[in-house]
Every structure is written in C-alpha cells, then in structure tokens.
C-alpha cells in the first residue's frame, strides 16, 4: 500500500535502452505531497528518463511507479488532469499563437471558456509574452517557448507539476518570477518535481532533494537536513553546500585527475 503522503512513489524502477544501457537501475524515490522536490544528477544520470516514464512517454522494464496512489497507466486521463508537465523538449503546437495554445490546453482540461481566457491572458502577461501573443509559437526564442510550456503546465492549477530543467534558457527576471510562483503554488498544496543543473538554485528553492547517479537515487532528504544526513553518509565529513556534497557523491574522484597541459 503506497504512502498516502507521497504523490509520486517509484520503487526499484529499471529502464534499459537498446545495447544494454541501463538508464535506471533500481531507482527508488518518493515525492512528498506539497514539497518542491529537486531532482538532481549528472547528464545521463536518469533524470529525464524518470520524467519521461512519469509522463507515459517511456515504459519502465521493472519496478513500480505510483502517482496519486494509483499505478501508472491506470486511469491515465483522470490522473493527467492533476498534473502539469514541462519536459526537456518543450511540447506545443508550433503553428498556434500563445493565446490559441493556452485556450486549447484549457479546453483539454475542461476549464470553462471564460476562465480559460482570463487565465491565459494573465499568464501571457505574467510571462512577458504580450508583444508576441499573436505570433506563432514556432517563431519564439527558446526561452519564450519554455515560458509558454510553463504557462500551459500551470493553467489548470494542477496538484502536481513536473518540470525538467524549467529554468534553462530563461532570463533571470523571469526565472525569479517563476520560482516565486512555484513556491506560492507549493504553499497552496501543489507538489513540484523539478530537475535542474543549478545546484545553488535547488538548494535555496527546494524543500526536498533527491540525488540520482547512474540510475540510482543515492540520497533523498529534506533540504534542511541535507548537511547532517550527508555527514553520516559520506565518511563523517561535513559539507558546506549542496554542491560540495553532490560533487563528492557522484564524481567518483574523476576530477582528481589533472590535465597535463594545464599543470
């Protein structure tokens, strides 16, 4: 029986790609309700694969994934009603304008027409897309595309938001506004799963942290507990920051080697 306090429960999840590459190798993690869960790892650690499995775009070979207490794949349509996704490759219809796309997304989530137009107007304004509201999304910059994906992910006020590198390619002002919005949503009970390479941001912004390496979650805890938990885990060494801990956990001394031409 899954813990009711966890919105996402992954247990011993294995995902193997062609040629025997194991993207997830018994990955186990749980995302508590109402948390802002920072999911961090090196490139190729398994973050995006995990998120693709949550989005149904990839299937795990072994293990269990439970969302809102229901196994993944069951009642998909109803469960997706409660989730907003921003994937690494933003997904939208390039030929639509921002206003058209948000209206389309609102309708897919059965939002009333008036409410959809009110929310889409506010979101376009909030993300600073007013100037290009009538331009096709295909003509937007990478950052603007990310913003429209984010807008689409929150328009229906989901209970869970899954974001893969949402702040990548977004300007500092918008990033700050997004973080404030996500914090506000979390305080209202929305659970947020976010992957990021910017550890400093994760440490300051997330309430919980999971570190994934080579398809396994090495550490999962509350951000406030990270230093004490890490102290026990890694040779009783006290770490000054998440970055120090992260590097120690996942680097495997690969940086100990020096480049001959620089020494």
């Amino acid at each position: 029986m899954p813990d009711r306090l966890n919105i996402i429960e992954c247990t011993a999840v294995v995902k193997e790609y062609d040629r025997g590459v194991r993207a997830l190798d018994g990955m186990t993690m749980s995302v508590p309700a109402g948390s802002i869960f920072g999911f961090i790892g090196l490139n190729g650690a398994g973050k995006t694969t995990t998120i693709k499995i949550l989005a149904g775009q990839s299937r795990c070979d072994e293990g269990d994934v439970v969302l809102f207490g229901k196994p993944l794949g069951e009642h998909d349509e109803l469960i997706k009603r409660e989730i907003g996704f921003v994937l690494d490759e933003p997904l939208y219809f390039e030929w639509m304008t921002a206003a058209e796309y948000l209206s389309f997304v609102g309708a897919m989530y059965d939002l009333p027409k008036n409410e959809t137009s009110r929310r889409s107007g506010e979101l376009i304004d909030f993300f600073g897309l007013n100037e290009k509201r009538d331009a096709r999304i295909g003509t937007y910059s990478t950052g603007m595309k990310k913003k429209i994906s984010l807008a689409a992910a929150v328009i229906h006020t989901p209970k869970l938001i899954v974001l893969d590198e949402p702040l990548e390619g977004i300007d500092a002002v918008a990033a700050s506004a997004i973080k404030e919005t996500l914090t506000l949503m979390a305080s209202n009970g929305t659970t947020i799963l976010i992957t990021s390479h910017v550890l400093d941001t994760v440490e300051r912004f997330c309430t919980d942290i999971g570190i994934i390496h080579k398809g396994k979650v090495l550490l999962q805890c509350k951000t406030v507990d990270i230093r004490s938990r890490a102290k026990n885990m890694v040779n009783d060494h006290m770490f000054g920051s998440l970055e120090e801990l992260f590097v120690d956990l996942v680097s495997e001394k690969q940086h100990a080697k020096s480049l001959s031409f620089l020494s």
């Binding site: 989005a55 149904g56 775009q57 990839s58 299937r59 998909d76 349509e77 109803l78 997706k80 009603r81 989730i83 996704f85 994937l87 490759e89 997904l91 939208y92 219809f93 390039e94 030929w95 639509m96 209206s103 389309f104 997304v105 309708a107 897919m108 989530y109 059965d110 096709r136 229906h156």
Partner: protein
C-alpha cells in the same frame, strides 16, 4: 459533440493551412489539369478530382498522430481522451476532404471536355458516401501501425500516397457493385451508414485502445 472534440476539430481544421503540406496541392493541380483532358470510361469527370484530393490529403488520413513531429507527445501530456482525439481527427479529415473537393473541382472542372451534369455530381456524392468511412478506418490502422514523424515529399510519403490510391481503388469495389443494382442511391446510402457505424463502433474504439496501450512505443517513432 463535446467541447474537447469541438476544440480538437477546430485546431485540426486550422492546422493544415498553417503547414507547407497545403502547397502539395499546387503540383497536383497541374497534374490534374492534364488528367481532366481525358474522358474516363470508368467513373465521371469527378474521378481524377477525387483521386487528387485523396492523394493531397494522404497525411490527413494515413498519419493522423504525427501531423506535426511533436504532436503525439504534446497531446499525451494533456488530459485528452484518445477516443476524442481519433474522432476529432477523423471528422476534420472528412471536412478537409469535402472542402478540398469543392476547391479542386472549381479549379479543374474547367479543363474537362465533358459537360458536367447533375447526374455526374450525384454519382460522385454517392461514391464518396461509400468510400469515406472505409478510408478513415484504413487510415487509422495505417497511422498507428506505420507512423511517420515527418510527412513531406520524401520517398516514404510518395509510397504512402500510391498505397492510398491503390487502397481507394479497392474500396471502390462496393460502389461499382451498387451502381449496377437498381436504386443505387439507397444501397450506397445504406452502405455508407453501415460503414459509418462500424467506423465509430470498431475503428475509433480499437484505434484509441491501441494508442493508449502503445503510446510510449509510438513516441519512439523516427
């Protein structure tokens, strides 16, 4: 029709005019102007027009889940029912078919040496009634079994267009049987209604179930 289907149909109807695919009709119109110069022993002057429209709209029938490369994944993260998606896409394909049939007819009938009569139009209408839903069904099957992430003017697309024409020829057999029976408009209409019911009860249902079950595999389409 529920709101989700209405919005999806509206988006589908608009999509084709935002894509380069619509320009595929230009070379087809040139070919069509030559084809219209013949008097066809089988079918009416509308026969080449129907073939051209079906060829031009091939991705609308045979590649419904990848009209644009990320479309499937984009729909997959939203809370839409696959059944609604299939119905909306099929309904939009029929509307496109009717619209382009009118537009292409207006452009090409001028080149026909035959005098176009009401009987020709009636025959064409009855023919369309008999092939429309079978075309949607074969298109749904093809879209899910042989999806293409990109549709354009590649060899694969040309092969699919030829396949579509062969398929159309096979699906025309019932019409030629019915047209040689007394009161063909009754038999053709009854056949059209029957295929419509089968399309909704069997094709839409099985396609949406297949799509739900194989979504992650279909996302890997090249």
């Amino acid at each position: 029709m529920n709101r989700q289907i209405t919005i999806l149909v509206r988006a589908e109807l608009k999509e084709i005019f935002a894509q380069r695919r619509v320009y595929h009709f230009l070379p087809l119109l040139v070919i069509g102007s030559f084809l219209m110069a013949w008097i066809f022993s089988v079918g009416s002057p509308f026969a080449p027009i129907i073939v051209l429209v079906v060829t031009g709209l091939e991705p609308q029938f045979n590649n419904i889940i990848f009209r644009t490369p990320n479309e499937l994944q984009a729909l997959g993260i939203l809370s839409c029912s696959w059944r609604n998606v299939i119905v909306a896409k099929n309904v939009a394909s029929l509307i496109h078919f009717g619209l382009f049939l009118i537009l292409v007819s207006m452009s090409l009938l001028y080149f026909s040496p035959e005098v176009i009569t009401g009987a020709h139009a009636e025959e064409a209408a009855l023919y369309i009634v008999t092939v429309a839903f079978p075309l949607l069904h074969t298109g749904n099957t093809q879209s899910l079994r042989r999806p293409r992430r990109y549709s354009g003017l590649r060899l694969e697309d040309l092969v699919q267009a030829v396949w579509m024409c062969v398929n159309l020829a096979l699906l025309s057999v019932p019409f030629y049987v019915f047209s040689n029976l007394p009161l063909p408009w009754i038999s053709c209409t009854a056949y059209g209604v029957l295929t419509g019911i089968l399309w909704y009860k069997i094709s839409v249902r099985s396609s949406s179930v297949y799509l739900a079950e194989h979504f992650s595999d279909l996302c890997l389409t090249d």
